[in-house]
C-alpha cells in the first residue's frame, strides 16, 4: 500500500509540476522515488507541522497542489486549526496524508497512536475524509483527491495487510460503500455458523481485512462493505443497506466516538436503524507496550475478540 502511495504520488508530480510533497521530516525511504524523479517538488518542512500546513495553504493560493505528509497523530490531529482556518475554510486543493493511523506505532505509545483523527476531521466543513483499505482504494482516493481539487484528509493505517479487492476501483465507485466481492471471500463449507444474509458489515481501513476474514470463517452470508470515503458519506446508500438488513456491524481502528459508526448512525438517525454493533476503540488510551497485534487484542479488535463480540451480538439480535 505504501509503495502504491509513493508511486502514485510520484506519477502525479511527474505529470503535473504543480504537485508538491511537503513532509514534516517523516517518510524515511518512502519518498526516495519521488525525490529522485522530482527533487524540486519535494519540501521537507522540518519538525514544524503548524508552519507546514499553513505554508501548504499559501502554496495552494498560488496555484500549487500540495500533498502534506505526516504521521496521523500529527497531521491532522496536531494541526486541526490550521486545516480548518487556512485550508478548508478556503476550500484549497491540499491533500493531507496521515500515515500510521490507528495502532501502527504500537510500541511507541500514545503520542504516535492515532484513534481520534477521523472524529477531528469529520466535523471540519469543506473537508473530504478518506480511509482506504488497500492499494486499489488508495489509488482511487488519491486520484480523486487530486482531480477534485477538494481539501482532503487521507488516512493511511496498517499498510501491509494485503489487498481486499482483486482489481482496480474507479474513482466513482470509491465514493459509495464498496461491496467486497464474493469471489474474494472463499467460503469454506461446513465452517458457517451464520447463514443470515441480512447481516451487513461496514468496515474501513485495516478493519476491512478483519471483516473479510471473519466473513470467510464465520459469517459467509453476511454482506461486507468497505467505506473508503467517510465524508461526504454516501448516506443514501448507507441508509438503503441499513434498512435492508436485520443487524449491522461497524468495524474501525478508531474511537467509536465520532468515527465511522457515528457517521452511519447519524445517517440513519431520522429513519431509525436496525441493531448496530460498534466495534472500535472505546474511549481509552492504550495501557501497555506491545506489537500491533497485541494492541489490537488489548482494545478488543483482534479477529478472535471481534468474532466473539459479533457472535454475542447476533445471539442477542436473534432473541429479539
Amino acid at each position: 500500500m505504501r509503495a502504491t502511495f509513493s508511486s502514485v504520488l510520484t506519477q502525479l508530480a511527474v505529470s503535473d509540476p504543480k504537485v508538491l510533497l511537503l513532509t514534516g521530516d517523516h517518510g524515511y525511504a518512502l519518498f526516495d522515488e519521488f525525490r529522485k524523479a522530482c527533487p524540486s517538488q519535494y519540501i521537507n518542512a522540518g519538525i514544524a507541522e503548524q508552519n507546514m500546513v499553513g505554508m501548504a495553504a499559501g502554496l495552494a493560493k498560488l496555484g500549487f497542489k500540495p500533498f502534506v505528509y505526516g504521521l496521523s497523530a500529527f497531521v491532522p490531529v496536531r494541526v486541526v486549526e490550521q486545516i480548518k482556518i487556512d485550508i478548508a475554510h478556503d476550500g484549497l486543493p491540499v491533500t493531507l496524508i496521515g500515515d500510521g493511523a490507528g495502532f501502527v506505532y504500537s510500541h511507541l505509545g500514545t503520542s504516535h497512536q492515532s484513534t481520534e483523527d477521523i472524529a477531528c476531521t469529520r466535523s471540519v466543513p469543506n473537508l473530504v475524509v478518506m480511509s482506504p483499505a488497500d492499494r486499489f482504494e488508495l489509488e482511487a482516493c488519491m486520484m480523486l483527491a487530486y482531480r477534485s481539487g477538494c481539501s482532503t484528509y487521507l488516512r493511511m493505517g496498517k499498510a501491509d495487510l494485503g489487498d481486499v479487492h482483486s482489481e482496480s476501483i474507479s474513482e466513482e465507485a470509491v465514493k459509495s460503500p464498496i461491496s467486497i466481492t464474493k469471489s474474494k471471500i472463499s467460503v469454506e463449507e461446513g465452517n458457517r455458523n451464520n447463514r443470515d444474509s441480512s447481516v451487513v458489515i461496514f468496515a474501513s481501513g485495516s478493519m476491512v481485512k478483519t471483516a473479510i476474514i471473519l466473513a470467510n470463517e464465520r459469517y459467509p452470508d453476511a454482506r461486507v462493505y468497505s467505506l473508503a470515503i467517510l465524508k461526504p458519506l454516501d448516506e443514501e446508500s448507507v441508509r438503503s443497506l441499513c434498512l435492508g438488513s436485520k443487524a449491522i456491524i461497524v468495524m474501525e481502528e478508531h474511537s467509536i466516538i465520532g468515527g465511522i459508526s457515528s457517521a452511519i448512525l447519524e445517517a440513519c438517525s431520522a429513519i431509525g436503524c436496525p441493531p448496530l454493533l460498534r466495534i472500535g476503540v472505546t474511549d481509552r488510551f492504550s495501557q501497555f507496550c506491545g506489537s500491533y497485534d497485541y494492541l489490537l487484542q488489548e482494545h478488543g479488535l483482534s479477529t478472535d475478540l471481534v468474532g466473539k463480540k459479533i457472535d454475542n451480538f447476533l445471539d442477542e439480535v436473534g432473541r429479539l
Binding site: 524540486s40 519540501i43 518542512a45 522540518g46 514544524a48 503548524q50 508552519n51 507546514m52 500546513v53 499553513g54 505554508m55 501548504a56 495553504a57 499559501g58 502554496l59 495552494a60 493560493k61 498560488l62 496555484g63 500549487f64 486549526e81 490550521q82 482556518i85 487556512d86 475554510h89 478556503d90
Partner: protein, 277 residues
C-alpha cells in the same frame, strides 16, 4: 460631469483612515480600535506605494500579497479598501449589521483580504507559503505579513521564521506591530520578548527597527529592503502606539475592548479633525 473612479487617486491620509475606523467601530458598536490604529501608517505606505494590484483587481493572480496575520487590526485594512474603492460608504455604515460580510477579524472570503486570521500565528506561515510559491513560479510578487508583538507568543511564528530563512525567501517581509500591549496587558509583563530585532536576526532575517508611525521611515525601510541583494527574509520592527491618533486611546489597553459612546466618538472625531484630513 461624471468623474471616473479610475481618476481618483487614493491618498491614504492617516487621519482619514482613522476616521473611517472610528465610523465603523461606532456604527458596529465594536472593539479592537486600538489594534487598528497602531497599523494605520504601515498600511497607508504599503497600499499607497508598494502593493501592486493589476487592473485594481484585489483578486488578480499577479497581485502582491498583504497578509494581515494580526486579524484584530482589520478595520485599518477596511479603511484602506474604502480609499481604493473596494468598499463603499454603505459597507462602513452597515458594519456588524446582520447579514453583512465584513467581520471583526480578517476573513479571506472578502475580496482584498488574503487570510482568515484572528487565531494568531496563522498568517505568518500562509505568507511563507505564498512567498515560496512565488519563488517556485519565478514570479516577482511580494509578500508582506503584518503580525502583532503579542502574536509573537505563538510558536508557529518561529516555525515559519526558521523555514523562511532556510529557504532564502527574500521576497517575504514581516512587519511587526510592536505596540507593547496585548490583550491582557503589557507584552513585557506577560511574555517579555526582549529585543525583537535580535530575535529575528538570530533566526536569519535582515531586520530594521523604525518608528511605525513615521511614513517616511516606513517607506525608506521597505525601499531599502527591496534594493538589497541579500537572500534573507526581511523583518521590519515597527515601534507603534496602540490607539495612536486619539489622545485618550493611546497606550490605553481599554481600547482593545471598549465600545465607543457618542461622547467618545465625537471627542475622537474632533481630535482627528485637527490632524489635517
Amino acid at each position: 460631469m461624471k468623474i471616473s473612479s479610475d481618476l481618483i487617486v487614493p491618498q491614504f491620509h492617516s487621519a482619514t483612515l482613522r476616521r473611517t475606523i472610528l465610523d465603523m467601530a461606532y456604527a458596529g458598536s465594536t472593539v479592537h480600535i486600538g489594534c487598528a490604529f497602531s497599523i494605520v501608517e504601515l498600511l497607508a505606505v504599503l497600499y499607497r506605494k508598494y502593493l501592486k494590484y493589476p487592473n485594481n483587481d484585489p483578486n488578480s493572480e499577479a497581485r502582491d500579497y498583504l497578509v494581515l496575520s494580526k486579524g484584530h487590526g482589520v478595520m485599518a485594512q477596511y479603511a484602506c479598501m474604502k480609499e481604493i474603492g473596494w468598499l463603499g460608504l454603505e459597507d462602513i455604515n452597515s458594519y456588524f449589521k446582520d447579514g453583512t460580510v465584513l467581520k471583526g477579524l480578517s476573513d479571506s472570503r472578502v475580496d482584498g483580504l488574503e487570510v482568515t486570521s484572528g487565531s494568531l500565528g496563522h498568517g505568518f506561515s500562509v505568507g511563507v507559503g505564498i512567498a515560496m510559491g512565488a519563488k517556485l513560479c519565478g514570479s516577482e510578487q511580494k509578500t508582506f505579513v503584518i503580525v502583532g508583538d503579542g502574536e509573537l507568543n505563538e510558536g508557529a511564528i518561529w516555525e515559519g521564521a526558521m523555514f523562511a530563512a532556510q529557504q532564502e525567501l527574500n521576497n517575504f517581509m514581516v512587519i511587526v506591530d510592536e505596540n507593547g500591549l496585548q490583550a491582557m496587558g503589557k507584552t513585557s509583563d506577560i511574555i517579555n520578548l526582549g529585543s525583537i530585532q535580535k530575535k529575528f536576526e538570530s533566526f536569519g532575517f535582515d531586520v530594521v527597527t523604525i518608528d511605525g508611525h513615521n511614513e517616511i521611515l516606513i517607506d525608506i525601510a521597505i525601499s531599502e529592503f527591496q534594493k538589497t541583494t541579500s537572500m534573507a527574509p526581511k523583518a521590519i520592527i515597527a515601534k507603534t502606539v496602540k490607539g495612536k491618533g486619539v489622545s485618550f486611546m493611546e497606550n490605553d489597553n481599554r481600547w482593545h475592548y471598549s465600545r465607543l459612546t457618542k461622547a467618545d466618538y465625537d471627542a475622537a472625531c474632533g481630535e482627528l479633525e485637527g490632524q489635517c484630513l
